[in-house]
């Protein structure tokens, strides 16, 4: 307690004198108390400590009361002093920065020693930076840590960067600023405390680095919708490596633009935007970013499912689900042209006319347009014919019997109208015509080409088949008729007569100049002493064209055992005389005996050269007085001749057997022959009715009933070669040059080796009783030619004029995923089997062929080998 505080102050001089006086008063007796400090002045920084010592003399009470600015113990403002004299400067310099520290003697409170303490701001020092470097020209936030920062301390960059202090404490100053120094500059950073005691801290250097940079990789990317790509953003010149991602400016993208996640993975949407820019922005400096240009392509479309089966016809729809369907996507479905309605990227609806393809299963694909046009996987779609009058298998069978082979269109048509209506259509169809001859030197090749063109494409299929069958009964051959002008009228005549009566056919054949020349009836003359009329035609007319060698029952079996011959050599000679007096029509000059060869009109009779004597022929007397009269009577006699035990004229089962063999089966049952022969006989030899009977008899198998083991016939070369083209829907532009192929396979068209045709109706398999006429020309070498024709067909190498397109099958075979390919290959093989065999592939055949499919990944090779193997298989070679 200071004396001064209890009493109003006494001036010090007075005090001193009082004290002096007191001393004087007592001088004589005691020395006065006095106090002295060991320092009378000090300069301290905030928080500094100093210990004062007070020496008090002349008393035993040497304690003192320390005061700062006369406040005992000091204060936070001015500094604290404890009663041991330890003074701690305040942490903040007070507004008046000089304080007085005094000690008041407790012995004599009037005795006070004081010191003047000058307080100064601390010396700032920097210990650390929050960032070790700043990027040039980049706003930064820097927290400087250290000690001794006064509230007015200033942070200074020696490059004069303007700094805004955002927070300050004694140990931290946080500033923001942007340094313009170039990268590589070392900035000296100092903290400056103001007066009192203004000091600048020791500088700490701060590096200036290049600005933050963001680099995206890749800079450009082409990618498809529904795929992902991971972009990487490399941030340099900062330790903050994170970026934010945006797509076309939208952070994280969105469903329309595609999304991008924090690791930079961008997922392109199904419907691709026009342009996509991916941006990575540094979180450390939002002004720093980089972009990548993404070029988007449409996704690869994928079909998950499609409507199947579907019925062929107009205005049909297929709904297709999957992913990645771009607007403008097209549907590919075999040959069908479809309008596409885009519903969404996962659904399309295709509408249009749907055609059944070869084999009834179409490869469905979606084709996305550009950019990045691509096709989808293949989805097989079963296309069924709309017709229900007849099953597919039954229609195929009937068409094998009645045409040059089924086509997808012909099967569909027959299925929808049924056999009766189909036959009516065929009977009404105008006949195919050959071009008229233009000279007398052209050979048969153009005639052959026209034949094949008609066979592959002509509408009068049944007429052509029947005419060809007739051509193998009443045979003429290019061996002796090598020229177009000789052969063509005969072949046209067969087409013309195919649906007439057998009798009118025989008349036309007999008087045809081609036959007259071939079997030597032309210019046959009355016998002389040394020469007899030519027997050739007389014999073959009976043996091969009408009644055959032995008397037959209606069912084709011989009437007797041993068989009874139908005619004798006498009959042959008699008929040879009947057939005298005919010469070529007078095409070029006045008529005489004999006229020059003319093949465009029937032969004419010259009565003077006709044997008009009585001729005993098959029990009848032929003597009508004219050549034609004799001929007509002789033909009538042949047509009505029958064994005494036969129910029908021999000609009926004779013709019935041959028509059945050529159209349906080599081994008809006697009952089948009998039924057809009866129709022939009762209709007066009408070929329309007879052919109808052949085709529609229950034995022909149209009702799907099980066939006998020996039913069927080997497809003869002309039938095999044309059928394969039709089954595969081959396109032929001009005329298919198949003649060289059929010749190698054993049938030179129009050039039978003899009047006995290419093969005999009685030929049996070696060592067997099974009749198999066409096998007579199946040798090892012709079997190779059959296989090799099939090879050329699948390679599309038969001729430049024939186009066989196996694309649909190849597409169906395009699955190479080992988990699923066997299943999809089975679909393809069944379709091939459907096209060629009329039914799904028998399981045993499937097992045999599958390894060949799996031996390659090439869809074209798979398709070719599949079709080849089925076409070469005996199951296809033999028609049933």
């Amino acid at each position: 307690m200071s004396f001064a505080s209890r009493f109003h102050p006494i001036p010090s001089a007075l005090l001193l004198s009082m004290v002096a006086l007191a001393r004087l008063a007592t001088a004589a007796t005691v020395a006065p108390v006095s106090i002295k400090l060991d320092a009378t002045a000090a300069t301290l920084h905030t928080a500094d400590k100093k210990t004062f010592h007070a020496t008090v003399v002349n008393t035993t009470v040497t304690t003192v009361t320390w005061r700062v600015n006369k406040v005992v113990g000091g204060s936070a403002l001015t500094g604290i002093i404890d009663q041991s004299g330890n003074y701690t400067a305040p942490t903040v310099v007070p507004s008046s920065n000089v304080v007085t520290v005094d000690a008041v003697s407790k012995a004599d409170p009037t005795q006070i020693a004081s010191a003047t303490v000058t307080l100064l701001n601390p010396v700032p020092s920097i210990s650390s930076f929050s960032v070790s470097e700043v990027n040039t020209a980049t706003p930064f936030t820097l927290t400087v840590s250290g000690i001794g920062f006064t509230s007015s301390a200033l942070l200074t960059f020696d490059d004069k960067t303007a700094l805004t202090i955002t927070s300050k404490s004694a140990t931290q100053i946080t500033v923001q600023g942007t340094s313009a120094s170039a990268a590589g500059t070392q900035i000296h950073v100092t903290v400056t405390n103001p007066n009192p005691g203004a000091t600048v801290s020791t500088a700490k250097t701060m590096a200036v680095t290049a600005p933050i940079a963001v680099v995206i990789s890749p800079k450009t990317k082409t990618m498809r919708g529904l795929t992902t790509n991971k972009f990487t953003a490399t941030v340099s010149n900062t330790n903050t490596k994170t970026v934010t991602w945006a797509v076309n400016g939208t952070l994280g993208g969105n469903a329309t633009l595609g999304t991008i996640v924090s690791d930079g993975t961008y997922t392109a949407p199904a419907i691709i935007p026009a342009t996509v820019t991916v941006t990575a922005t540094s979180t450390a400096d939002l002004s720093k970013s980089d972009t990548a240009q993404v070029t988007l392509q449409n996704p690869i479309p994928a079909i998950a499912s499609a409507t199947s089966p579907i019925t062929a016809g107009a205005n049909k729809s297929i709904s297709i689900t999957g992913t990645g369907f771009a607007q403008g996507a097209q549907i590919l479905l075999g040959n069908s042209s479809l309008a596409v309605k885009w519903v969404s990227s996962s659904q399309l609806v295709a509408t249009g006319t749907i055609q059944a393809p070869v084999g009834g299963v179409a490869a469905l694909r979606v084709q996305n347009p550009n950019p990045g046009a691509a096709a989808s996987n293949t989805m097989p779609v079963t296309i069924q014919n709309s017709g229900t009058v007849l099953s597919y298998a039954a229609a195929k069978r009937l068409l094998e019997h009645a045409t040059w082979g089924p086509t997808p269109d012909s099967i569909a048509h027959l299925q929808s109208i049924g056999i009766t209506a189909w036959l009516a259509e065929q009977f009404a169809e105008p006949e195919s015509t050959y071009n008229l001859p233009i000279d007398t030197t052209s050979n048969l090749s153009t005639l052959q080409e026209q034949f094949f063109k008609n066979a592959v494409t002509g509408p009068d299929q049944l007429r052509q088949r029947v005419a060809f069958a007739l051509s193998q009964i009443t045979v003429v051959s290019g061996v002796k008729l090598p020229n177009y002008y000789q052969m063509m009228p005969y072949q046209q005549m067969l087409l013309n007569d195919a649906f007439g009566t057998y009798d009118s056919l025989l008349k036309d054949v007999t008087l045809s100049p081609a036959m007259g020349h071939y079997l030597d009836m032309v210019n046959n003359d009355i016998p002389t002493a040394t020469q007899s009329p030519d027997e050739n035609y007389a014999r073959e007319l009976m043996q091969l064209f009408t009644i055959g060698l032995v008397e037959l029952n209606a069912d084709g079996t011989p009437t007797t055992t041993p068989a009874t011959p139908t005619y004798t050599e006498n009959d042959v000679r008699a008929m040879a005389r009947v057939l005298t007096g005919w010469t070529y029509s007078p095409c070029f000059a006045a008529s005489k005996w004999t006229n020059a060869p003319c093949f465009q009109s029937p032969m004419i009779a010259v009565e003077a050269h006709h044997d008009n004597t009585a001729k005993l022929f098959l029990g009848a007397t032929i003597q009508t007085g004219s050549a034609e009269g004799d001929l007509d009577l002789a033909l009538r006699t042949i047509e009505t001749s029958k064994g005494t035990q036969s129910a029908l004229p021999n000609i009926a089962p004779f013709v019935a057997l041959r028509l059945i063999q050529h159209l349906v089966t080599s081994n008809p049952t006697p009952a089948y022959i009998s039924r057809v022969a009866t129709v022939f006989a009762q209709s007066g030899g009408d070929l329309k009715q007879t052919v109808t009977a052949v085709l529609t008899d229950q034995a022909a198998g149209n009702d799907g009933s099980t066939l006998a083991a020996n039913q069927g016939h080997l497809a003869e070369p002309v039938l095999f070669t044309v059928s394969l083209l039709r089954a595969l829907n081959a396109n032929t532009v001009y005329a298919p040059p198949l003649a060289s192929y059929t010749t190698n396979i054993g049938q030179d068209l129009f050039v039978s080796p003899s009047v006995f045709n290419y093969y005999s109706p009685f030929y049996t398999l070696p060592g067997s009783s099974t009749v198999a006429p066409e096998f007579q020309i199946l040798s090892q070498s012709t079997s190779f030619y059959r296989a090799n024709y099939a090879y050329r067909a699948v390679q599309n190498q038969i001729s430049s004029d024939i186009v066989i397109d196996l694309t649909n099958f190849a597409q169906l075979a395009s699955d190479t995923n080992t988990a699923t390919q066997s299943t999809s290959l089975t679909v393809m093989l069944n379709a091939v089997s459907q096209a060629l065999l009329g039914e799904p592939m028998p399981p045993a055949m499937l097992s045999a062929i599958m390894p060949a499919m799996l031996a390659t990944n090439d869809p074209n090779t798979r398709a070719r080998n599949a079709v080849y193997l089925v076409a070469v298989s005996p199951q296809y070679q033999v028609q049933r």
Partner: protein, 449 residues
């Protein structure tokens, strides 16, 4: 012309016509002697022998191939053959006969003793006289003047048409291939032949080009394709014709592999004419040259030429046909004799044809179907000369079955073929030629080879 009785043909033909051949069930049942054939398979033969049949399809008018040049026959020939008579035959030494002028090369071969001419050979059931034929009191072959039937009978040696195997096939049955890798005994170079149809043996047929499957590129896909085809052949479809069809291609593939590995294609030591028969015989020569590689010790070949059905224009036709026949056979003979093949005495070539033709021409410059005719046998083992009995050239005479010179054969097909078969090594003659038993055993071998 004697009148023909209607009952000439009422005699019993063992005809099985129509759509079934009732006795040809393929089993031994109806085959009589043939049923025992397998029990008499020949023992493995020594050396090598080959028969080469050249079938002249159409009915060769051999009346103009072998022409009498002296005595009554010559004048009868010139009179009756009239416009078709050959004026300048090639004389065969002093035999009194000549060959058609376009057969120079064959005439040469004859002069070297390598040609046997067999007169008046034809199908017979038993020896037959005109009287028996006319009266119907003897058996005659079935369907005498029908191409198809006579072709069949010449190849099956079954004049009553009760056999479906060919006599060459029956011989092949007796001489199966030596090993499983050997080639078939019977080989046709011109399509399927009825001659080589056997009971157990299967004829092979080769042709010059294209004998093999296309597309053999050695790739895995093709190898698998071929394997799949083999598997398909093994399927049992239950359908007779399907199985039969597969068997043919399968046999073809096997034969092709054999031929490819075994047969050399280097040029032959003779120039074969570029004619059909020339090329066929060149093929035969190639196969014979490679007989060791083929593992063959007995082979029967079938070649053929068509166009002999000369109802008209016979003179011109025969000019070309005989030229082709003569040149081709001659080239073949040269090849066989060459040291590189060295098979002259091992190979015997012979002709067949379904019938001769009417000695009397028709009004068309040609001839019609007849019966017995003359045939050639050519080879190094042949005992050259004339064999058999030349017909008496009188229309309606004792040699004539009918009235226009249809010669009744005086040598049966069976005897002719049995002679060849014996040379070949067949002992069981009646097994191969059941009809032979109708002839005298001391005429089973005519001695020309």
């Amino acid at each position: 012309m004697t009148s023909m009785k209607r009952n000439v043909f009422s005699r019993r033909f063992l005809l099985e016509k129509g759509f079934k051949l009732a006795t040809t069930v393929g089993a031994a049942a109806s085959l009589g002697h043939l049923g025992k054939i397998s029990a008499f398979a020949e023992t493995a033969p020594a050396g090598y022998k080959a028969l080469v049949c050249v079938f002249l399809f159409g009915g060769n008018d051999s009346n103009n191939m072998v022409v009498p040049m002296s005595g009554a026959a010559a004048s009868q020939y010139n009179t009756l053959r009239a416009n078709l008579a050959i004026k300048n035959p090639l004389a065969l030494g002093s035999t009194g006969y000549g060959l058609h002028p376009n057969m120079t090369a064959l005439a040469n071969l004859y002069s070297r003793g390598n040609v046997a001419l067999n007169f008046n050979v034809g199908t017979l059931v038993t020896p037959l006289t005109r009287s028996q034929y006319q009266k119907g009191s003897g058996k005659a072959p079935a369907n005498l003047f029908s191409h198809a039937d006579q072709q069949q009978e010449w190849q099956t040696a079954a004049p009553l048409e009760n056999l479906t195997t060919g006599w060459g096939g029956r011989v092949a049955d007796l001489f199966p291939p030596a090993t499983a890798q050997s080639c078939a005994t019977g080989i046709s170079v011109n399509g399927n032949s009825a001659l080589l149809v056997g009971q157990t043996s299967r004829q092979a047929s080769v042709s010059g080009d294209g004998f093999g499957l296309l597309g053999e590129d050695g790739s895995a896909a093709t190898i698998a394709r071929d394997a799949a085809l083999q598997q398909i052949f093994k399927l049992d479809s239950g359908v007779t014709l399907v199985q039969a069809s597969g068997n043919v291609l399968q046999g073809a593939i096997e034969m092709a592999a054999l031929v490819k590995n075994a047969v050399s294609t280097t040029p032959l030591p003779a120039t074969f004419p570029a004619t059909s028969l020339g090329q066929q015989l060149s093929q035969v020569a190639q196969l014979i040259r490679s007989r060791t590689q083929l593992g063959a010790n007995r082979q029967i070949f079938f070649a053929s030429l068509g166009g002999f059905d000369t109802h008209t224009d016979q003179l011109n036709s025969q000019t070309a046909l005989y030229q082709q026949l003569s040149d081709a056979v001659s080239a073949f003979s040269t090849a066989m004799a060459d040291s590189s093949i060295d098979a002259s005495t091992d190979v015997t070539l012979f002709t067949e044809s379904e019938f001769n033709r009417t000695f009397q021409p028709n009004t068309n410059g040609g001839t019609d179907h007849a019966w017995g005719g003359h045939h050639l046998v050519v080879g190094g083992a042949v005992k050259g000369g004339l064999y058999g009995q030349f017909p008496t050239l009188v229309l309606g005479g004792d040699s004539d079955a009918e009235s226009r010179g249809n010669w009744i054969p005086t040598t049966s097909l069976d005897q002719y073929c049995a002679t060849l078969a014996q040379w070949f090594g067949v002992n069981n003659l009646l097994g191969v030629f059941p009809n032979l038993s109708n002839f005298s055993p001391n005429e089973y071998n005519l001695g020309f080879v």
